[in-house]
């Protein structure tokens, strides 16, 4: 979105503050049952306690859960990006392989990543490795397809030049293919970060691996709404932070493309 002036920031802050005030009023005045909607104070208290912000008083549980979920998400995402780029480059560099394999890839793409959880459970059992596998596998598709697409869209004249120079295939991938596929790959990696977080949370819910996904499910089952909201806030923050960081990285990495 566009850069905005101070007045714009003030206005949007005011709207956000109004929404929080509405939440405060609705929960404190009892317009909505507190079973579903805890007060903002209670949510903040749960957050402070779980994150051990008040020194010595909290149990620090949420901190560990957040670390576990972020770790799972990042590991899965890195594995997915690596595998996606490698496989995508291998498929994308050769039109023949592309013609044979791409229809299958297009078929698998709309498959929900979480639909692989039952299959993975029956193969690997309910373990942390199983969740990591599903996160990586589910998040691999956007990167893989973006890489294939990026390689397929390499400027034909560049490919001709590479042929004239008798560039070996590995050099072509490294010097021509990857740089020109970079914008596609980075866009795919951003999407795959979102998928990693979602699948990590679902995996924790189903396979009872410790993390925010399991924490919010247990909080909801025990009707502890303030802890549930604290978990949702943390997940929102993780999503926000990862997306913002990737957007900055994308801008930096693609600076050479801008005229």
């Amino acid at each position: 979105m566009k850069a905005q002036g101070a007045a714009g920031w003030f206005g949007s802050l005011a709207v956000f503050a109004a929404l929080v005030a509405l939440w405060w009023a609705a929960s404190n005045a009892g317009w909505v049952s507190r079973v579903f909607l805890p007060t903002p104070q209670a949510t903040l208290a749960s957050l402070a306690e779980g994150l051990n912000l008040r020194d010595g008083q909290g149990n620090g549980e949420l901190l560990g859960f957040t670390q576990a979920t972020v770790g799972r998400m990042l590991q899965g995402w890195l594995l997915a990006s690596l595998a996606g780029v490698l496989l995508g480059a291998a498929i994308g560099v050769s039109p023949a392989v592309r013609a044979w394999v791409q229809p299958t890839l297009e078929f698998i793409r709309p498959l929900p990543a979480s639909a692989l959880l039952p299959l993975a459970i029956s193969i690997f059992g309910l373990s942390a490795g199983m969740v990591l596998f599903v996160v990586a596998f589910g998040a691999m598709w956007p990167v893989l397809l973006a890489t294939v697409h990026g390689f397929a869209a390499v400027e034909p004249r560049l490919a001709e030049v590479a042929r004239c120079l008798q560039m070996p295939r590995a050099a072509f991938v490294w010097k021509v293919g990857l740089p020109s596929a970079m914008p596609d790959i980075l866009a795919g990696m951003r999407l795959s970060m979102t998928i990693s977080l979602i699948v990590a949370v679902v995996g924790e819910m189903i396979a009872s691996q410790s993390g925010l996904g399991q924490a919010i499910l247990l909080a909801a089952r025990a009707f502890r709404a303030s802890e549930l909201f604290a978990g949702i806030v943390l997940l929102g923050l993780i999503g926000f932070a990862s997306n913002a960081l990737l957007a900055v990285a994308e801008k930096k990495l693609l600076r050479w493309q801008q005229p």
């Binding site: 078929f107 698998i108 029956s122 193969i123 949370v201 919010i216």
Partner: protein
């Protein structure tokens, strides 16, 4: 010779998956012979699929998932469309809403599964709420971007004619963004389907995701594999249909313009 080449080209997309399935068949049969009850060969899955199709459980679960995804999309995309038009037409409103949207948008939809469970219990409404939440944001962002790119002269004309805000939205803006609207809708359909199946796998005891989960839990790997394949086929068919609809719409609107 030429017809042989044509047949070869037509069969080519099927070769790779068939080889994969064949390898899996051999592997799973060997595993089954060694006494594993976690894997089933694709041939057994096909049999289980026919069984589920004949006793009607297949269609019931599929109808639930597709129906819920469609209703949730209708709610989420409808609200996203309205708010997107409003924010696209008024830069001031867009600035005001910016922070709130950026704060709520990255909340992963699955994080709301426990909350929806608490509010609505299991069933249709909880899944609807989550699908609507998940489809609302992409729709809002894409519609807002589409409205901003509406030819400014059209908006000037509408101001000259003294159209009211509602008339402007329905007579000028909406027709102008139809091609982009269908691109956004296609994305929304994909998101809705994925989220619906995910909610069923994680919590909601209805639909295709749950049927697959329960097949796994009752050690019926053939049925589970059948569901996995069926979910893939349904997802592919829905996406392909949306792609054709979008292409058709783009051609029609392009020809009309």
């Amino acid at each position: 010779m030429t017809s042989g080449a044509a047949i070869g080209r037509a069969l080519r997309p099927w070769a790779f998956p068939l080889v994969l399935l064949g390898l899996y068949e051999v592997y799973a049969r060997r595993a089954a012979a060694l006494g594993s009850d976690a894997l089933a060969p694709p041939s057994a899955a096909l049999k289980a699929f026919v069984g589920a199709a004949l006793d009607g459980s297949l269609w019931e679960a599929t109808a639930f998932t597709l129906g819920t995804a469609a209703l949730g999309l209708l709610a989420g995309a409808g609200l996203g469309l309205l708010l997107g038009i409003a924010l696209g037409l008024s830069p001031r409103a867009a600035r005001m809403g910016f922070l709130s949207i950026e704060v709520f948008r990255p909340v992963p939809s699955v994080a709301l599964i426990p909350l929806a469970m608490l509010m609505f219990g299991f069933g249709l409404r909880m899944e609807l709420a989550i699908v609507a939440f998940a489809t609302f944001w992409p729709m809002l962002v894409l519609v807002q971007a589409a409205v901003r790119q509406v030819e400014p002269r059209l908006l000037e004309v509408s101001r000259m004619l003294g159209l009211s805000a509602r008339e402007r939205a329905f007579k000028i803006v909406l027709p102008a963004i139809v091609p982009r609207l269908f691109v956004a809708l296609r994305l929304g359909v994909a998101v809705a389907l994925v989220v619906a199946v995910t909610v069923e796998i994680a919590a909601n005891p209805h639909g295709m995701g749950y049927a697959m989960m329960i097949a796994q839990q009752s050690f019926d790997p053939a049925l589970m594999l059948a569901w996995l394949g069926w979910i893939g086929v349904v997802g592919y068919a829905v996406n392909a249909a949306m792609q054709r609809l979008q292409g058709w719409m783009a051609r029609r609107m392009g020809a009309a313009a």
